[in-house]
Amino acid sequence: MIDNTRSFRVKRVFGFGMMWVLLFFAALPTVWVLIMSFREQSVMFEAFWKSPLAVTLDNYLGITRSDFPKALLNSFICAGLSTLLAMIVGVPAGFALAKSRLSGKFYASWLLLLLRMAPPVGFVIPLFLLYVNAGLIDSYFGLIMAYMTLTLPLIVWSMWNSFAQVPDELIEAAIMDGASLGKAFLLVALPAARPGAVAAAILGFLIVWNDFFYALIITRSSTVTAPVAVMNFISYDSVDWGSIAVASIALTLPILPLMVIANRYIVQSLSGAVKG
């Protein structure tokens, strides 16, 4: 039944109004950065309606000549591989923790949570000294391993949760039909826990993609990631606002499609969707 009363219409208009105000408020910085990225350096802080024609592609062209694209690639490599490796190790681990009758599971869960809760600064200094002595500073391997301390607990924890929602009977039925445990895991349990797996992978990727602190300490010129490289546009006596704007857009763009996918799967995984 559609409510057409006056009070409902007023409420609805008010609700939409609030939504648009909030949306405007949230989107304003992004829109501003987008405008800045097309502005000439000399009119960067002038109101754009005062000189609407002072637009340029120089900021975009300039950034392709800088080291930033390499840093963006580094971010992809590190976020992609650390998530992939954490999934390869973490998904079976989550399955084992959810379905086996291991003793000490309680402690394992707390240990994992502790890893997630500990502030990175607690890890980074010992990690830095270890890496210097092991020659792992400014190496992809070192950086990816460091990032796994962020992604692995997240993935194990959330996959543990996802697999716990898959009914034991489903796996038992597969084994009764002659499947090995590995097959039951890959062909039965994993597809059932797919929304959780996708959500965990995306969240893991985003954590690494946005990381500044680990990259600040562990990387140097050859493996520097994008969030740290953005800071290099601020120099001693000038701030290259145009390049910072372009770099911010470049850092945000790859996340948009991921967020769209994540949105769907995170909702599914939260509502515990399991197809029988």
Partner: protein
């Protein structure tokens, strides 16, 4: 399961392939860490020159200043030895030396043929307890830019003193174009790079007798108070909107957009305001020394150089790199490739191409800069290990007064008290 294992295996192999375990301190490699400015960017572009000359590969990392501070602090306190040559601002050198972070390089510098070509003032700024701790490559000074067209229209001359500046500002200030902008954000490199120009011009000082060794804080004086009142009146009454929280980037943007008539800034920003490629008002902009006061003129000075960390594993190679980096040949190449006019290796100024390049930016540029360098005192900002903390504390009080959070008298009293607390006297 087989498929799973093979995926795991290939991923591990892939990770191994892409990992480029970079070499830290191999015998023929050097790691140089610097923060971004025209000279350092120019030096990084010449890394191949160094390798061709010496056979040593230099990994020159030019990074943002915040990233730089974090990296070196971690590296020096952890004595990790992963940095062979480090960007050493003179304002930090006392603190680094007292923390044992730098290696004395007196013998190495004495052996450099280029030593006699380096300006004595900036070189001596790195001398502490009789030892040399770094070699300068640039000395930026405080300069003033002014809009010739605005002054002409108002029928006023370029102000020679801060007093003149107040009366000129009153005449030219209007809603479209403010009279003046200067750095106001608190920090030893922000408002405390600019404010001492006013303070020293009025005879204000940080200590009772810095050169005589009496480090009793003396910032709470009638002279500094007069200077603070001038600085506040200029920015509050004749500055653009929000001037109380401007930093160099905002001052630069305001001048480039034609929102201000005067800017008192460092060489780098001042150069960008008179360079036709960087500002559309460049042809209407003049450049001169910052105004004087009853006690004379005291342009700001900031010296930057290259030092060797105490934990560096191969100091001979590091010294070789520094000698190459400050050589006339390298400096000349950078002065031509970058907006880098404040070099401290003197013969570069005799190079015809360099002279021609900077005369084209502005005919008076090199002469005004040389004049400012002559007038500047080495301890413009005190060369003490505690200066970064002192500068921050004083800067915050100056900014508080400017923004009406305290009266100028209260601000100076608080600044002096905080100085005493930091110095423990």
């Amino acid at each position: 399961m087989k498929k799973f294992l093979s995926t795991l295996f290939s991923a591990t192999v892939l990770a191994g392939v892409v990992s480029t375990s970079s070499v830290v301190n191999a015998a023929d490699e050097l790691n140089v860490v610097m923060f971004g400015m025209p000279y350092t960017k120019g030096l990084a572009a010449l890394a191949d020159d160094f390798e061709a000359k010496t056979g040593i590969k230099a990994n020159i990392d030019v990074i943002g200043q915040d990233v730089f501070e974090n990296r070196i602090t971690l590296s020096f306190t952890g004595k990790s030895g992963d940095i062979d040559v480090v960007h050493t601002p003179v304002i930090q050198v006392q603190r680094w030396v007292s923390a044992g972070w730098l290696k004395p390089i007196t013998a190495e510098v004495d052996a450099m043929a280029v030593k006699s070509d380096i300006m004595a003032g900036p070189l001596d700024a790195y001398k502490i307890n009789g030892e040399q701790w770094a070699v300068p490559y640039m000395a930026a000074t405080g300069l003033m830019t002014y809009r010739k067209d605005i002054l002409e229209e108002a029928g006023v001359e370029v102000p020679q003193t801060w007093e003149d500046m107040l009366s000129v500002a009153a005449k030219i200030h209007n809603d479209d174009t403010a009279a003046i902008a200067m750095r106001a954000v608190p920090g030893q490199g922000f408002n405390m790079f600019i404010f001492p120009m006013v303070m020293r011009a009025y005879g204000g000082k940080f200590f009772e007798d810095y050169t005589g060794g009496d480090l009793t804080p003396a910032i709470n004086s009638p002279e500094t108070l007069e200077a603070l009142n001038v600085y506040m009146k200029l920015l509050n009454d004749y500055g653009p909107q929000g001037a109380g929280n401007f930093n160099f980037a905002e001052v630069q943007a305001a001048a480039q957009n034609g929102q201000i008539a005067f800017a008192v800034e460092g060489t780098g920003i001042a150069a960008s305001l008179v360079d036709p490629e960087k500002s559309k008002f460049a042809d209407k902009t003049g450049i001169t020394l910052p105004p004087a006061g009853p006690a004379g003129r005291s342009p700001a000075i900031a010296v930057h150089g290259l030092g060797i960390p105490a934990s560096a594993k191969n100091p001979e190679l590091s010294a070789k790199f520094i000698e190459w980096a400050v050589s006339t040949e390298t400096m000349t190449k950078i002065a031509l490739a970058q907006p880098f006019s404040n070099f401290t290796t003197q013969p570069v100024a005799q190079n015809e191409e360099v002279v021609a390049k900077y005369s084209k930016v502005h005919p008076d540029f090199l002469t005004v800069q040389a004049e400012a360098l002559n007038l500047a005192i080495g301890h413009y900002r005190p060369l003490l290990p505690e200066w970064p903390a002192l500068g921050q504390a004083i800067g915050e009080n100056i900014n508080a007064a400017l923004n009406g959070l305290s009266s100028p008298e209260e601000a100076l009293e608080a600044a002096e008290q905080e100085m005493r607390d930091i110095l423990g006297n």
